[in-house]
């Protein structure tokens, strides 16, 4: 599971609608896999990404220290875009769990696959 995907996920347990984001990553295995760098794509994704969630997750996993505030324009920000690319596209949670900050529900990640299914009562 890429950190891009993690940034899009929220807890969806029934009734858990506040303080359900971001899911805290308790990873036992995080790997780096190279991916093609596309600055336009990264810039586009920045409209969708919750920056603070990405920044704190990247820092907690020891992947990168991203700046607190993004520049108004990403023009000429090649180095920063590459750093964001590394975090979003190249960092994979392989094993561990994603924990809801509100209800403490745990979603398991195994061999890079997150299991986001809930049992019937939780839906």
């Amino acid at each position: 599971m890429r950190l891009l995907t993690h940034n899009l996920l929220q807890c969806h347990v029934k009734g858990c609608s506040t303080n359900n984001y971001p899911l805290r990553v308790e990873a036992t295995n995080v790997v780096h896999k190279e991916a093609d760098f596309n600055p336009e794509f990264i810039t586009h994704m920045l409209q969708k990404i919750e920056w603070n969630a990405l920044r704190t997750t990247a820092s907690a996993l020891g992947v990168a220290e991203l700046p607190e505030i993004l520049p108004l324009s990403m023009e000429g920000q090649e180095e920063l875009l590459k750093q964001i690319h590394l975090v979003l596209m190249e960092t994979h949670i392989m094993d561990g769990k994603l924990v809801c900050p509100g209800c403490s529900h745990e979603y398991l990640v195994t061999h890079g696959v997150g299991n986001m299914l809930l049992i019937e009562d939780e839906v």
Binding site: M1, C11, H12, E50, V113, G114, M116, L117, V123
Partner: protein
């Protein structure tokens, strides 16, 4: 080869083409209410006969989908995946039209055959079957296990979504509607959704068929080891038969469901290769 299917499956024995030597989809008209389910195994929550009551009660509906959709896809995942490699033209066209850098959700992505169609798009797949998602993951596609009635994504972020041959596996109209609403929730304003479902009108079911809720057996080729042993009868020599629930959509039915969704407009709808499809845009 003699057709020896255990007695629990007599309804299928009578109606399906069990002498067909080709594994995979065995197309036949087996109305859902004629199937008597197995009385053994872990699905004891289901009543002994699958009838219309199941199709209207929410908890039994979920149990029926577990037995007749989720368990089956997990068991047939490898074989199913081997037969799913050719994208459909309308789906290809939709994916090809997405601007570079679009974020795409493939809800019910199966083996991920659409996740690589447009490499300039970032696709995230999800499926209820962990066995199929395992195949996606091995192919390097970003994917996770999730239920299309309760998706784990924040709202309003995706530029596009597809639901190909998925919601026809849900056993009630309300659940099919809820699945569409849940995918629409993921889309940003202006984001687009393509839905494909099997059509009642397709030739292979015969022009006189009017049964919308039915079982379509899948014959698992005997060389494939099943992922789970609990969902179908088996003998050493014969292919194992798994029944999948389908709701066949009538002409106009997708449009009717779409008309009950808030915040969407229909861009296009039509018939393609035995399926009805619709393209919606989030307002």
């Amino acid at each position: 080869m003699p057709c020896r299917v255990p007695s629990e499956h007599q309804a299928i024995t009578k109606l399906s083409t069990c002498n067909n030597s080709t594994p995979g989809d065995v197309l036949s008209n087996v109305p859902a209410k004629q199937i008597t389910r197995r009385t053994t195994g872990s699905s004891a929550a289901l009543p002994a006969t699958l009838d219309q009551d199941i199709l209207t009660d929410a908890s039994t509906a979920a149990a029926a989908e577990n037995s007749f959709v989720h368990d089956v896809y997990n068991a047939i995942a490898d074989h199913f995946s081997d037969t799913r490699y050719k994208p459909w033209p309308v789906v290809d066209g939709f994916l090809g039209s997405l601007p570079a850098g679009s974020l795409l959700a493939d809800v019910g992505c199966g083996n991920g055959k659409y996740l690589g169609v447009n490499p300039s798009v970032m696709g995230i797949g999800c499926d209820r079957s962990d066995a199929l998602i395992g195949i996606c993951n091995n192919r390097g596609f970003e994917s996770l296990v999730a239920d299309n009635l309760s998706l784990p994504f924040r709202s309003g972020l995706f530029d596009a979504a597809i639901s190909i041959a998925v919601i026809h596996h849900l056993v009630t109209e309300e659940r099919r509607l809820a699945a569409m609403a849940e995918i629409v929730r993921l889309l940003r304003p202006g984001g687009r959704l393509l839905v494909f479902v099997w059509a009642l009108e397709q030739d292979k079911f015969g022009s006189s068929n009017t049964t919308q809720d039915l079982f379509v057996p899948w014959k698992l080729r005997s060389s494939t080891p099943a992922a789970t042993a609990s969902v179908a009868p088996s003998t050493a020599q014969e292919p194992r038969v798994f029944n999948r629930f389908y709701h066949l959509f009538k002409s106009g039915e997708l449009e009717m469901l779409a008309s009950r969704l808030a915040n969407v407009r229909v861009l296009r709808s039509g018939y393609d290769r035995d399926n009805w499809y619709i393209i919606l845009e989030r307002q």
